[in-house]
């Protein structure tokens, strides 16, 4: 999107900006020329650094929202506890009361638009819905499922709130289950291992998370209001979906799954698995098939993954199953060189924290931190990131093997860099260092050469 010069510039606040959807929306906002600045509210720092971005560590129950939203034209409210099984009262305090505080503070700050990520669960995960479910389909309060109940209550509050603030454009995005590169829930963990959990026969409603982020930006640019379902078409039951895409279906008998879920509070206390609200399992048999025709028609939403099968195929193509062993070995060696090798005097005055994001089969997420004249690689991205370098794992291997060079990879867009502009040069320098060392005499040269031969013999070309 390229607004013409002189167009008004928006200040946008995002709650939950460090979450799965939040990160994607933040990235889009900071790269949007119509957006002048972005305030991110979250319990955690956002994994992105950008001059337009003002991160704030904030708890929606207590944060000074009036102050944080000052001057904001748009508030995008994403923060919500989803899967965690918490005492009802705390769940309610964060999700429902926290949301109310956000909306009221947005109105008080004089914002002209609120974009709220509601959920398909707002219709209630109960049997008997029409097919497909459209935005006018009556919503059902499902007291037994605290997540769905909270989503319902927030929208109910919005119904009144909208009437009290007629000048405020309120958008309610109602996505189904988000599938994407950085899923933090148990389903995501299984999917990375190419397993799809199946508890029942109902179609699994999914949508690619970047498509949802795109919808939020479309709603922002069009100053839209109203509710929008967001789901990939043609949802399939997990077993069929797994079969169609070559994943393994993990069929868990309903009763067993329920028992595990009920035991999860106990198990998680001894360090096994995470807390799951049993209602997630109980409701997995419910058919909830949404139509996104309105989003396509009104917002001009063009999801990159149109169908559930496409979502899953995209997941398999972009989300690494396991780090390629050559990449893993290189990063280990780079970590060792960074720790024990000589300092690089030319880096003395540079401090940088880089997230190296390698997508596709064999990829993974790594950290590269420059401090004290050293380039330190690590197996996890730094918490507070100043730049993100993204490329396919195969491109990274090509760079290591000298099959391609950094300059052309960046000029052709195979390497994408965001944030601090020296970051790509640091990563390029790290690779150049390795390639130079492989030509040197001595033990280190020999070891590097041996490794280089192994890396070059690997996949690619």
């Amino acid at each position: 999107m390229k607004p013409s010069r002189g167009e008004e510039k928006w200040k946008v606040a995002v709650t939950g900006g460090a979450g799965q959807l939040g990160r994607l929306i933040l990235r889009r906002l900071v790269n949007d020329r119509a957006v002048s600045s972005v305030v991110c509210l979250d319990l955690h720092p956002p994994r992105l650094s950008h001059p337009k971005l003002e991160p704030a560590i904030a708890d929606l129950r207590t944060a000074d929202l009036d102050h944080l939203f000052m001057g904001c034209n748009v508030v995008i409210h994403l923060a919500f506890l989803i899967g965690e099984y918490l005492p009802r009262q705390r769940f309610h305090a964060v999700n429902v009361k926290g949301s109310m505080r956000v909306f009221q503070a947005a109105a008080a700050a004089g914002a002209s638009q609120i974009i709220y990520s509601s959920s398909a669960a707002v219709y209630g995960m109960v049997p008997g819905h029409p097919e497909p479910v459209v935005e006018e389909t009556p919503r059902v309060h499902q007291a037994a499922f605290s997540y769905a109940a909270a989503k319902y209550e927030v929208e109910k509050f919005l119904d009144t709130f909208e009437q009290e603030h007629p000048s405020l454009q309120v958008v309610r995005l109602r996505p189904v289950v988000l599938v994407g590169e950085e899923m933090e829930n148990p389903m995501g963990k299984l999917m990375r291992r190419r397993r799809l959990p199946s508890f029942g026969e109902a179609p699994l409603p999914i949508v690619w998370d970047e498509d949802v982020a795109d919808a939020a930006l479309l709603a922002l640019h069009q100053r839209a209001s109203g509710a929008f379902n967001l789901a990939a078409d043609d949802p399939l039951p997990p077993v069929a979906l797994a079969e169609e895409t070559g994943m393994g279906a993990m069929q868990i008998p309903h009763g067993l799954a329920m028992r595990i879920a009920r035991l999860s509070p106990l198990l998680s206390k001894v360090g096994l698995g995470s807390l799951i609200d049993p209602a997630w399992i109980e409701t997995s048999d419910v058919r909830l098939v949404l139509s996104s025709a309105k989003a396509r028609g009104v917002l001009g939403w063009k999801p990159r993954c149109n169908t559930a099968v496409e979502v899953m195929q995209h997941f398999l193509a972009t989300v690494p199953q396991k780090v390629e062993r050559r990449i893993a070995a290189f990063m280990k060696m780079a970590a060792l060189v960074g720790r024990c090798g000589p300092r690089q005097p030319e880096l003395r005055s540079i401090r940088l924290a880089i997230h190296l994001h390698l997508t596709g089969p064999g990829g993974g997420d790594f950290g590269i931190v420059v401090e004290d004249g050293r380039v330190k690689a690590s197996a996890v991205p730094p918490l507070s990131v100043m730049a993100v370098i993204t490329m396919r794992s195969s491109v990274f291997l090509d760079l290591l093997a000298g099959r391609t060079d950094w300059g052309s990879a960046q000029l052709t867009g195979k390497v994408h860099a965001e944030g601090q502009a020296h970051a790509p040069m640091i990563v390029a320098g790290m690779i150049a260092n390795y390639r130079m060392r492989s030509q040197q005499p001595g033990v280190s040269g020999f070891l590097t050469r041996t490794m280089a031969r192994w890396i070059e013999s690997g996949a690619g070309n």
Binding site: M1, P345, G407, L411, Q420, A428, A432
Partner: protein, 355 residues
Amino acid sequence: MKFSLFFEMQISEPTPESEARLFHDCVAQATLADQLGYHCIWAVEHHGLYEYSHSSAPETFLAYVAAKTEQIRLGHGITLLPFRYNHPIRIAERIATLDILSGGRVNWGSGKSSSLVEQLAFENDLGLLHDQWLEALEMILKMWSSEVFSFKGRFFDIPETRVIPKPVQRPHPPIFAACSKPDSAATVGQLGLGALNFALGDDVYLEQKVREYRHAVAAAQPQGWMKNNHFACTPATLVLEDDRKACRYGFRGARFFSETLCFYYLSGTRPVGPLNVARDFFSDDDLAAAMALRNTPGSMIATIVGDPTCARESVQRLVDIDVDELILVMQLGTIPQDLVMESIRTFGEQVMPYF
């Protein structure tokens, strides 16, 4: 917006003949730029950066160009100030002489060097480079402003001496400094110096750098010299009527520039060259991808490569960011002389007049 040319004096796989030709080619480029109304030519000072930069005696090159040109300004981008490279008195004398002979056309930039190759070749103490730069800067400006100069500092103890001649630009030629590290634009701004930057990052990042610089320079109160609020950057540039041809050669040259730079500055090693970098043309697929990426939102702003229409778009991005001067790096390794000349002409006639 001011438009200038940058001379690294790059050369891929030099022979004695091609290296000698390079210098005459650069003179031809500079004189053409003068005729077309470019603002300045900037020559670097590097030592031993084989292929990346053969411009080790820019004062000689600039003096020669001064005699062959009428209007164009002559920039040192930059002179290395740590005293093992150049004694401050010699610098003050040379710059003043060039200023006199060129009729007051000198822009003078300074810096401290950041490649291990030259730092160690001149046996520098790496921990002192920054302080040596600052002390020499102060001294040189003082030499130009005092009839009789004397100085007692950390590195120098110079008795009363007449440093002659004086520059004709009063009180002194505009002064600049190199910014090659993430925070150096702001540091240079605090000193009240013009900032010479690489063109790195996307619009938003560069805009932020300019803002930080403006903020710092506004607050600066330099003692001993005139403040120079000026932000310049150096995109790799090739502009030809034929968009695809410009990209074919321009991206190859831009890649040579960034790859060789990376080896000399960021590899943590001290290469003596030749360098193991790619010199071939992009494949058709890569070329198409690189062409499509130009001027898209979030794209890097490091190149101005293509036909005049595309170049005007790229320049507009830099105008929007409030950059004062583009020091175009057209003299890139691997790009043949006739194309560099064509590019200087095409840009001068079809892009420059729009800004």
